[in-house]
């Protein structure tokens, strides 16, 4: 509420100065122990080193930064205040549609434009994996409102299922895909069952614990998972049986020889890209359709009010379990793809940080919004990538960005909710039928 007051009041330069001075003072307090002082190791014992210059620079920068920031914000607000508040027509749904199609178009043409740029396509593939994971987790968190901090467990289950099916039985990607999905779904139910009665943050810690349990088991149960060494040489998916290899086995064709192309590593990269694009789009259609089905509405209703759901005769247990199972299954699919793309998996890829990133994608995107997930995945994957140029500042900037985006858009990047059914439109549709 204090923000509201500030917003209405045109600030004088003196006030702005005072505000910035206060910020500088806080910066000084925070800076003394961290920036101004440090300990260095001089031959086995620590000594304190002072860095007053750096501290000064830090405080000065805080002051200037705050002063300029406030000034700009005030300008913006004044301009906004000058305009009378008009009742805006909510055009978001149309806008979202347009952006959605644009993003789709861009993602289809991307490999054509960047056909020689391995990095771009590979990074885009990573983005799509996260998009798919985000869409999967969105079912659990965004729609059903169940906080899941251990989503990575299902991703791991999918990846390891494929890796193990391959290494023990020689199953291919396509054969393993469905089994791995089912396996992950089973794990989803396994996790869901004991925690049906938990709410909110209790759910969070238990799911987090579940993710850790899976990871610790993968690390320690060496006979099964090869422990921390991971499983390698996982085969890449083929295109209807055509592998992407330079030297196909005797008497078989590879993609390059079949189409009479010269072998290039890019073929596989592009193929993997389109594969995950298709998987992700299928996920999207699947989830979007589910949302308009009774289960989907039940998930949302559950998020809104569990007790009212019960009073409407809804079996809340089944609804929760179905959310966990379907979310887990989608995570499992993504896991299979991940294993196939990396060719090597180890427990290190399935840490809590990974779960946190996926959750951040869902929340930053705007819970329940499909396009929001895409935007958030783009931001969260590209930020650290772009940040590579800043090397050691990379993760610092990443953390800062996460906070800033949340503060800037607390509801997520795209936060509007589209009804699953409308009276008007439904009536006209019904009329046609």
């Amino acid at each position: 509420m204090s923000a509201v007051i500030i917003a209405r009041h045109a600030r004088t330069p003196a006030e702005r100065f005072k505000d910035a001075a206060w910020v500088a003072f806080v910066a000084l307090l925070l800076g003394i122990p961290m920036v101004g002082l440090t300990t260095v190791d001089e031959g086995g014992a620590l000594t304190v080193q002072t860095r007053f210059g750096m501290l000064g620079a830090f405080v000065g920068a805080s002051f200037a930064g705050r002063f300029i920031f406030r000034w700009i914000m005030d300008q913006v607000q004044n301009r906004r205040a000058a305009k009378p508040p008009v009742a805006k027509i909510d055009r978001t749904p149309q806008a979202i549609k347009v952006i959605g199609w644009a993003v789709l178009g861009a993602s289809i043409t991307l490999p054509i434009v960047f056909s020689e740029n391995r990095y771009v396509i590979d990074t885009a593939t990573t983005v799509l994996i996260y998009v798919m994971l985000g869409w999967g987790l969105n079912v659990v968190v965004g729609l059903a409102g169940l906080l899941d901090l251990g989503y990575v467990a299902f991703y791991a289950v999918g990846a390891y299922t494929y890796a193990l099916l391959f290494s023990h039985f020689g199953w291919t990607f396509w054969e393993a895909l469905l089994v791995a999905g089912a396996m992950a779904a089973a794990f989803g139910i396994l996790l869901g069952y004991p925690i049906l009665r938990l709410r909110g943050d209790y759910l969070a810690i238990v799911t987090l614990g579940f993710g850790e349990i899976i990871r610790v088991i993968l690390v320690n149960w060496t006979e099964l998972s090869n422990g921390p060494n991971g499983i390698g040489s996982i085969p890449r998916p083929t295109l209807f049986g055509l592998p992407f290899e330079r030297n196909p086995a005797e008497g078989t064709q590879s993609f390059a020889t079949f189409f009479g192309l010269e072998f290039s590593g890019m073929h596989r990269i592009i193929f993997l890209y389109y594969l995950i694009l298709v998987l992700a789009l299928l996920t999207n259609v699947f989830v979007a359709r589910l949302r308009k089905l009774p289960v989907g509405r039940a998930w949302e209703a559950l998020r809104e009010d569990e007790i009212a759901c019960k009073a409407m005769g809804m079996n809340v247990t089944n609804v929760k379990l179905s959310a966990f199972a379907i979310g887990a299954m989608l995570g499992g699919f993504a896991g299979v793809f991940f294993a196939a793309r990396q060719g090597f998996i180890s427990p290190e890829s399935f840490t809590f940080t990974e779960s946190a990133t996926i959750l951040a994608i869902v929340v930053l995107g705007g819970m329940g919004s499909q396009l929001g997930v895409v935007l958030a995945a783009l931001v969260l994957v590209l930020l650290p990538e772009l940040g590579r140029n800043f090397s050691e500042y990379r993760m610092l900037l990443f953390g800062t960005a996460m906070v800033l985006i949340m503060v800037w858009k607390p509801g997520g990047l795209l936060a509007s909710r589209e009804p699953t059914i409308r009276l008007k439109q439904a009536a006209t549709e019904g009329g046609e039928a």
């Binding site: 589910l290 089905l293 949302e300 019960k310 079996n315 009804p419 059914i421 409308r422 039928a433």
Partner: protein, 276 residues
């Protein structure tokens, strides 16, 4: 009272620690009629509803429903959702519990979850939008539209339920409960927050639900202009016990009820004037 008994509650007791909220209560609710449960604040009315509808497990006692199609059912043994789904005993809440971010129409469609879920082949048929499911959906929509119309909510069907005024939300809750096809509809203070004019409209609605659709109604209400005008039968609770039972006329003049609940008549008596 010659009508068949729909619900019979026998020696129901509900204790919370040392507090006895319902004390050896026996009530019978006739089919196709409106039965009101009244009583001072804290008498145990809402607790009684909670025991009927599976939200609380009563300490002792039995609740038997003579379901018109399914025979006798023991409600006290059924858990939350089964009371609504199988026994078709549906309730509203004293503190409104809508799905606030969903639209009014969606609220009404969610109430038909079980029917739709089956029709969607547990989503398998639904995901491919097979005709069977589409037909079911159209049917559900028709039912929702019907109740929206009856409760005057058609214009706001596509508005998020949580953004609507209190009185409107009350009506949505009733519409939503009706979408579950109740045999017995339990309303907890449906007129709270309605003005006299709206209460009168509610009266009309309740009467028509009962008389035309044959839905039995169990009503908790403090607004005497509603209770006295629509009830066929009134049951008065105090400290979890039944202190009186009878027609509105009998109850209005029952000295015990006046003392514990209605208060001495004075020039302020709302019941008469409000409905004038």
């Amino acid at each position: 009272m010659s009508a068949a008994t729909l619900l019979s509650v026998e020696s129901l007791t509900m204790r919370f620690g040392g507090l006895t909220a319902i004390d050896d209560l026996s009530v019978s609710v006739p089919a196709g009629k409106i039965t009101a449960i009244i009583g001072p604040n804290g008498a145990g009315k809402t607790t009684f509803f909670n025991c009927l509808t599976g939200f609380y497990k009563p300490t002792t006692g039995s609740v038997r429903l003579a379901h018109p199609n399914k025979g006798e059912m023991r409600l006290e043994t059924m858990t939350g959702h089964r009371v609504a789904r199988d026994a078709q005993v549906v309730r509203t809440f004293q503190n409104i519990r809508l799905f606030p971010k969903m639209t009014v129409l969606e609220n009404l469609i969610v109430a038909q979850h079980n029917f739709l879920q089956k029709a969607s082949g547990f989503s398998l048929a639904g995901i491919f939008r097979l005709p069977g499911y589409r037909k079911a959906e159209a049917e559900a929509l028709k039912k929702a539209a019907h109740w929206l119309e009856r409760l005057g909510l058609t214009d706001i069907a596509d508005v998020a339920a949580g953004d609507l005024p209190y009185g409107t939300q009350r009506r949505i809750e009733i519409a939503r409960a009706l979408c579950v096809d109740p045999v017995l509809l339990c309303l907890d203070e449906p007129a709270a927050g309605l003005n006299p004019r709206e209460s009168a409209e509610l009266n009309t609605l309740l009467l028509s639900l009962c008389r035309e659709e044959g839905i039995a109604i169990l009503l908790i209400e403090h607004d005497m202009s509603v209770v006295m005008n629509v009830s066929d039968h009134i049951c008065v609770l105090n400290y979890g016990r039944k202190i009186a039972e009878g027609t509105p006329e009998e109850i209005r003049n029952d000295p015990q009820v006046i003392k514990a609940y209605l208060g001495e008549d004075d020039e302020d008596t709302a019941s008469g004037e409000k409905a004038a």
